[in-house]
Amino acid sequence: MLEGLLIGLQTAMSFQNLAMVIAGCLIGTFIGMLPGLGPMSIIAIMIPVAISMGDPSAALILLAGVYYGAIFGGSTSSILLNAPGVAGTVASSFDGYPMARQGKAGKALTIAAIASFAGGTIGAILLMVFAPMLSSVALLFHSAEYFALMVVGLSAIAAFAGTGQVGKALLMTVLGLIMATVGEGALFNLPRFTGGIMDLQSGFGFITLAMAMFALPEALFLVLKPKDAGSADGEIKDLRITGAEARSIAPVIGRQSIQGFFIGVLPGAGATIASFLGYAVERNIAPKHEQDEFGKGSIKGLAAPETANNAACTGSFVPLLTLGIPGSGTTAILLGALIALNVSPGPRLMIDEPQIFWAVIMSMFIGNLVLLILNLPLIPYIAKVLAIPRNYLIPFILFFTLMGAYIGQNNATELLILVAFGICATALKFADYPLAPLLIGFILGGMLENNFARSMQLYDGVSFIWERPMTLGLLVIAAILILLPSYRARRARLRAQGVADGD
């Protein structure tokens, strides 16, 4: 391994490759900030540039830099504008945006930068050590386990259910799942619930729904109640995190780096599930007083998904490099780029072309460091977006919301769907229905149904639930995670009644 590391370091530290990492991170960050352009589209755009270079190591290093940069850029728009352009950064907006509204935008971006750096770096160390071993573990996961894992991912809804609100959170999740069934399913190729409308054949767009659920109601609330718009006086204060805050998020970063990495290793799971699961787990294991802070600007609630999504991005390279299996949409595009560069990823990549394998790993360390060094000094300038006067900021938020939906689908009908869903989301927000579970249900719905269908076909029914112990174990965990908040609320109510009765 040491020899490989030296080869990788030598390749990654060449002037050309260092320039590639820096360029990739910068391009990824800036384009990733635009809602609607996620890592998949940015990497797809950059592939012709990468291939034209001819050097596979340099090309992969550039694309990996773009990947990390785009994830970081996506977090920035989630935190500052509540406009997550990628599914993997949705969970970052749950606490990042409330922090920005409380005038702690600088601190939120600092935590995001540090958590991303730590998640990516620890993930790269784990990749270096475990890559060959993990590829065989990932193969043990079949569709039944994936189905159960998605159900555990959906149990994140419990984290958004306030006291006595599990019913509402459940309803929103099921509504998200229902919305995911609209259009042609990947498994059946039959149009469902489209009402004969051609534009609905491919289903609702994720970006449209994300913008409608988060950015649009938030902008409308800012219009309705102008006093709350933006930060108090436009001054970006409080960039540093205190020692106590660092100590409180350190275990979260440690746990989520490992959990996020292992979820990223599983083909099909990826940054989205890792971030939701990271958020849900941290919320559930936090003490009661900290649990109440989740969703209102908790630093743990921001650090968890930020760490997990970066660690998962690194983890997703394990099946790609060692088995040649793309674990996510983004790594599928990277696989295409590798093949175009005449590189065959798989078990022999490490042996036949060690300079590529190790150079990519070393570039991950360098890329994370570059992102931290570039972004930390830029935070005060990035966060100044909140100091823009409301009369200009709100039309721009609405414009980027519309652009996000338009670029994603290149269809003007999508904009009308966005406005319609935005109005519905605002009404739901008035009635105190949590919107995040709806989006989680929508994102995981397609994967959940496909894995459920595959398992049903393989086992000719639902016997896979009890015939596969890992599946059963995961489903039991999910049930506990969903029912626990209701049980806690009931116990607290009974205790309060007992006190009132003089028990």
Binding site: I31, L37, I45, G162, T163, G164, Q165, V166, G167, K168, L170, L171, V174, L175, L177, I178, T181, G185, F188, R192, F193, A219, L220, F221, V223, L224, K225, P226, R390, N391, Y392, I394, P395, F396, L398, F399, L402, I407, N410, A412, L415, L416, L418, V419, G422, A427, L428, K429, F430, A431, D432, Y433, E449, F452, A453, M456, Q457, G461, A489, R493
Partner: protein, 160 residues
């Protein structure tokens, strides 16, 4: 009845319609060989319709006791907020969606940004127009020229 229950009632209607389609009409067009599968395109929707109906009923019947909390915006006092501005911005967004193709990106976007600021009370035309024009130009250049995503810049009669 509180707003959340009214919404639950509307959602119940939607879920029942969804459920009716899943349970009674969807399988009619299914090819015979697909009916031998253990799972049909309607299986998952059927499960979801039952879950959604139960969740709606639990809210409608108030089975879960929740603590009352201060809403961010009280919908009963909506008239006290800037409702007119919010409605006008929504109408502007719909108009933007309808005009984007026929008027082209540059004219529609500049008009959207200027009118959006105007609705919110801005009257400094000398600031508003240059900002809107610059932002529109930069975004168009970035999306069309750098990223290569086609967006018609001008109306057809102007050569767009």
């Amino acid at each position: 009845m509180a707003l959340d229950r009214w919404i639950a009632l509307i959602l119940l209607g939607i879920c029942l319609t969804y459920g009716y389609t899943a349970w009674f009409t969807m399988d009619a067009s299914l090819a015979p060989f697909m009916k031998r599968n253990p799972i049909w395109p309607s299986t998952f929707p059927k499960v979801l319709s039952v879950l959604a109906t139960l969740a709606c009923l639990s809210i409608l019947l108030g089975l879960e006791k929740s603590e009352a909390k201060e809403p961010e915006i009280d919908y009963r006092r909506l008239h006290e907020y800037k409702l007119g501005q919010a409605v006008m911005l929504l109408a502007l967004m719909a108009a933007y969606a309808l005009c984007l193709r026929p008027l082209g990106f540059l004219i529609s976007t500049t008009a959207f940004l200027v009118l959006g600021s105007f609705i919110l009370g801005e009257r400094k035309w000398l600031v508003m127009i240059p900002i809107a024009l610059t932002a529109t130009g930069v975004v168009w250049y970035l999306v069309q020229e750098v990223l290569g995503i086609y967006m018609r810049p001008l109306p057809g009669f102007l050569g767009g």
